[in-house]
Symmetry: C2
Subunit: 453 residues, 2 copies
């Protein structure tokens, strides 16, 4: 095995020794992960059941640690919304335990066959789902993320290094300890989960491409951009969600108003909130009613001259940066020339996250769905639906605007890879070729285990 | 649209203007790719049929250009094996046309449904295969790669920037011209394919992460390592293939000898050739026969002291670097303690490419397949089977030792991503929640189009 740090007692909070040896920590997680990933699925299920129990047994300890974080946060004047996100209580713990229980009931994804081919008599190839390996998760504020992501990683057979926000240090330590304890209780190496603290640790880990397979930053766009520009390890996530709603000339005006208001106001800070409304010149006569509905919902519209002229009660704005993610009750409005103009604007200024069209003309809607090059593309539905829970993926790892590996809302599939397993009876490659044996390449069933994919 | 360079006449060789504007070239490919990718599948099939015709029409021109390259290569003293790889002839062109014709007959992969879910009445989600986007392919020597990879990219709806070896400049220019001509003949923008020349162009393109989605280097390990360390764009491929053959105590000695010889000798320069033979201490009495078979096949064995003592006719070697890819008729031999020792050696020194076990004990074989963390893991078969054609994947993009996006031999699937398409009837996210509508998440059939996956 590659160098592995001495395992601390499973029940203790992970001991981040100084100086931090990122290579040793990451290699230790890799070695432990290989044992976790190669164990039978029932063992990983047992770990999740143990985790659910431990969260109950150690509830008082978790809330005490969280109170320490809250006291410190109030002392240092953390903002109200962040305080709310930091706080754990009995209800939140109950929701966490529910989530862990649900994951324990999910069929084990490791070993599920994706492809099954008989290459020749007695030479059979299987492509099987396998744990991705070692994940580095960097998140802010909400300590629940430790358990939500940690449990997902355990279900996938992945090792995970968790770096939470400094304001949740005490809470995170106890929660990481719960994950490690659950592994130890099932006689699996607790080092498959590690907690780390401090920016220096993250910086050092971002260089460990030999031992870390995927980085998932969950937080602000600036956090994600910083991570993306600091590592050669693949990064799953999105820095921006500049989502567009295009109101086609054939749009039903009432639906247009409803979806504009829902897209902007349902949760303005979300990455899938609508930032820009694109108005087909042919829809312009109906635009004032949409603008009124948005105004009545408290939205400040930043209109280009043509849309401002059509709805004079909106403020004229000198210069609009169409790449802005407002994350607030503000939306940009641009008039475009039909579908081509809308798509040109989206491809030029968008972030590839989610775009929607409101249209009654089925041909226009179909062309929009075929041509828009974004992770999620909707017809007559709010951009706010771009979400793993709403898509029915179960727990969500994040939303990716990248095209590699996973795109859009990412469920547990994003934490898996595949391996190719070939079972022979002594065949060599030299047995095949002109005048020798020929490959059969018979497709065999992948069995019912591969349901839903 | 983002800035797009003026399109040169489709039939001309791509004009690489000086100074090279990498952003403009890559953005131009992106814009053209979006038109190609959004076109109906029949249009991409027509492009492939046009390409097949053009390769026939322009055969003399292709061979003339190739002769220029060959003359220059002889003048500069290019090595014999490279000369052979550089040379095109009527037979090689026929094979190329066959490959293009086969791709024209493959069902179009774009739009194939991977998931189909009814979220609610009148709110239906589809996850559909989509072109990955823009590929940068860097390859050496063999000009056929232009057509092989170019045609695969066209089938997937991808744009492609091709950078071949300097020694094939004239051949590559004509072949890139054929691809561009095929697009133009079908009224699609020829800029979806671009040819570039020179190291400076590659260096500049490796910075274009906004416009290039995947880099595929095909060539030496040093080329791949150089690319991997020079870009933040995802790189698909492998720098090394340090493949292991483990001879378990339960192995059939004759099979062990056969698979060692086939793994090493069938094509010693291949990435899937066996580099290290791991001998279970319990198999040691049978090792001399294996060593003799390898010696008789012309293989130089570099044995550790224990294996050397068992087969004294092998040379003693002072120090063995177990991470070496010999690429020649040389193999390392190490004695290990059973399965655990073999797996420890593989995880410590291997490149994650392909490993094989020879064993009659089914439990040991199963454990090897479950525990070895490599892209391909074989039982009683030669490591040489790790190959897209042998796996039945059709044309091969490359072999990936990464875990993200694609692992092992990669077929056309590696050139695709997915998009999520949601068709609604005016739903907003605010319509759902406690006391409001609930999601149904009904799994719908993905139809027969999704066969074999």
């Amino acid at each position: 095995m590659t160098a592995s740090p001495a395992a601390p007692p499973a029940e203790a909070a992970p001991d981040v020794a100084s100086p931090f040896d990122a290579a040793a920590v990451a290699a230790g997680v890799r070695a432990a992960q290989r044992a976790l990933g190669a164990a039978p699925g029932a063992r990983r299920t047992a770990v999740l059941r143990a985790l659910e129990e431990i969260l109950e047994e150690r509830a008082a300890e978790i809330l005490e640690a969280n109170q320490l974080d809250l006291d410190e946060a109030e002392r240092t004047g953390l903002e109200k919304p962040l305080l709310k996100r930091l706080k754990l209580d009995a209800d939140k713990l109950e929701v966490l335990r529910d989530g862990v229980r649900q994951l324990a009931e999910v069929p084990d994804p490791v070993g599920v066959m994706k492809r099954h081919t008989q290459l020749d008599d007695g030479l059979v190839l299987r492509q099987v789902q396998s744990p991705l390996g070692v994940l580095l998760i960097i998140f802010e504020s909400r300590p629940e993320a430790v358990i939500q992501i940690g449990a997902l990683a355990l279900r996938a057979g992945d090792g995970v290094i968790l770096k939470g926000g400094a304001e949740a240090t005490a809470s995170n330590r106890v929660l990481v300890g719960c994950l490690r304890d659950a592994l130890a209780r099932c006689e699996l190496p607790s080092d498959a989960v590690a907690g780390v603290e401090g920016r220096e640790a993250v910086a050092a880990l971002l260089d460990q491409e030999a031992h870390i397979d995927l980085v998932i930053p969950r937080g602000s766009g600036s956090l994600v951009r910083h991570i993306q520009s600091s590592t050669r390890i693949p990064v799953l996530g999105h820095a921006e969600g500049v989502c567009h709603l295009y109101l086609d000339g054939s749009a039903d005006p009432a639906m247009a108003a409803k979806l504009a208001v829902d897209g902007k106001c349902d949760y303005p800070a979300a990455c899938n909130a609508t930032e820009t409304v694109l108005v087909d010149r042919a829809f312009l006569p109906h635009f004032p009613a949409v603008a009124e509905a948005l105004r009545d919902a408290g939205v400040e519209l930043r209109c280009d001259p043509e849309s401002q002229a059509a709805a004079p009660f909106t403020a004229a704005v000198d210069k609009i940066d169409w790449r802005t993610e407002y994350g607030d009750l503000i939306a940009g409005v641009a008039v475009v020339d039909g579908l081509d103009g809308a798509i040109e604007h989206i491809h030029r200024y968008g972030s590839g996250h989610t775009e929607a069209i409101v249209a009654d003309d089925a041909h226009v809607a179909e062309a929009f769905l075929a041509r828009v090059d974004s992770a999620s593309v909707f017809h007559n539905a709010s951009t706010r639906f771009a979400d793993g829970f709403r898509y029915g993926l179960g727990a969500e790892v994040g939303i990716s605007t990248g095209r590699i590996h996973a795109r859009g809302p990412v469920g547990i599939d994003g934490l898996l890879t595949t391996r190719w397993l070939l079972t022979g009876t002594g065949q060599g490659a030299g047995d095949y070729g002109p005048g020798k044996r020929a490959f059969q390449h018979l497709t065999l069933p992948t069995s019912g285990a591969d349901a839903g994919d």
